[in-house]
Symmetry: C2
Subunit: 331 residues, 2 copies
Amino acid sequence: MVNTIGIVGLGLIGGSLARRLVGRGCRVVAWNHRPHPYADARRDGIECVDTLAQLAQERPDIIMLCNPLRAMPQVLADLKDVIDRDATTLSDVGSVKAMVRSQVADAGLADCYVGAHPMAGTELSGFSASDPGLYDGALWAITVDEHTNYQRFLAVANLITEQVGNRAIVLDDATHDRAAAMISHMPHAVSTALIGELSASPDRNIAAALAAGSWRDMTRVALTDPERTRAMIEEDASNVESLLRELSGRLLAFADDLHRGDDEAMTRFFAEGQPFRDYKSRGAVNDAEPFALDIDEAGWQGELLESARRGEHIIRFTAPRQVLVEVRSAL
Amino acid sequence: MVNTIGIVGLGLIGGSLARRLVGRGCRVVAWNHRPHPYADARRDGIECVDTLAQLAQERPDIIMLCNPLRAMPQVLADLKDVIDRDATTLSDVGSVKAMVRSQVADAGLADCYVGAHPMAGTELSGFSASDPGLYDGALWAITVDEHTNYQRFLAVANLITEQVGNRAIVLDDATHDRAAAMISHMPHAVSTALIGELSASPDRNIAAALAAGSWRDMTRVALTDPERTRAMIEEDASNVESLLRELSGRLLAFADDLHRGDDEAMTRFFAEGQPFRDYKSRGAVNDAEPFALDIDEAGWQGELLESARRGEHIIRFTAPRQVLVEVRSAL
């Protein structure tokens, strides 16, 4: 059982997590780079400290890094000499995982690290926008590599399933970052390209006048802070690049199909996404019963990755080497 | 003043329009290719007839074709010998305009035709999904060519601004179809390509599990009936084709920027859509006062197209040759 959680960064994600954990009976100690949210945070039962050294001295079971990714190297540099590596496992909520793991390794903290990424967020930011309900029904990716310590993994997994009350899947960094590029980072670039197209058109006022729901939905994410979007894309640049090349080729091939009036090829183009349409139309309804998976001591990382590939989500650990899973996203 | 409106096709668009017009005091006579919505439609005050000939015999001021575009040639063939061309103006709500005008011309009905396209719709279909509120605040494109009779144009424009209570812009077919491809038909293809990419990925279950708001919004339109989407794209094929080639090139250029880490080019990529972000952030707030435009007898089509290009929307006709406009979508 996790007793004390350290939170670095009381923004939207860290603040919401801290408040949720306090509300569910955890002791939470937090540090923020500026103390402005401390008064509100203390009212919510969060213990706030002035330095990262003080946070480390509390010897939290887990320190969850919820700071912006650009601050990660500095935070890790400040933590590396003060953290009690035996007592504390280091984790983070960053939206790209390979980069963070390499920064953690550069700081010499690889041995006590387990990555994490909660699928939760809004377009808002800051502690004032935080909300424990942000995590309602959220799924976390837990990212591991072949060196990840199983006990530390278990501590982070239990934090997520027991203390936060969420579900989880286990991935390697590369799979996580590729999947995140697919469903978020690359689409952000596409959305940005769409508003670039419209803005460059001599008929832009007419096009904007005719725009309805499809345009609004396809371009919503292009309206959010372009600096934040750019940072997100650059942090996962090689995955975004290769997916953009693929998508660009797919669009060009469809333009050729249209040009030739190739009936069969067009049928294929529309059929390719049918597994996703079927998956969405099934909705959250799931008749499958949860079932137990035993986890081997060797190769547990690969086993849990395969479970994620089958669309299984971890509900909770029923024993140190047994996990209850449920099929939730099988296309 | 329009007295009787004929509606062909009681689907989502036609049914909602019929119910709205009845609710605003018009007499509406409707025909549907199958009579299944008639009981409900009659309860709503819509007069339903069994044949297109009966509809034509009512000599409606305007017959609004709200049938699916694939049915257009047959509907026009059935109407051409029964319509009273002196009494009735023919219009339609189709989402592409060049194709419909050419079908109308093929049926020998060009002289009594004025095109229209309301920017309203949902992913639902059928009379059971109809809702007079679907047209709340909607903008219509009215499409004309150099032969369009001004009085017939005025009748359709007044139907839209007075009876339906909406705004309008006046376009030629080519400009309409290019703009509609930009904000709807092409993005539908992009959305379809995105779910094709995900479905083809070996990590599709993981990607689907990680998907959140940005993916949901970017792919919503790909979940609607792919047959309907395909028809819409094929009806505007050459515009969609050329926009897809442009977008594909834009995405490829950005992939190259990412690969090179070209800071300046990336800044340009994110800046290109800034006029649209600024336009959206101004929202519906509009300090400009409505003002009157006089319409010349000669060249009125081009004058009103220029007005649309300046971002002006027609509020209503204050005299047969004077229109009240308001700047609503200037990027």
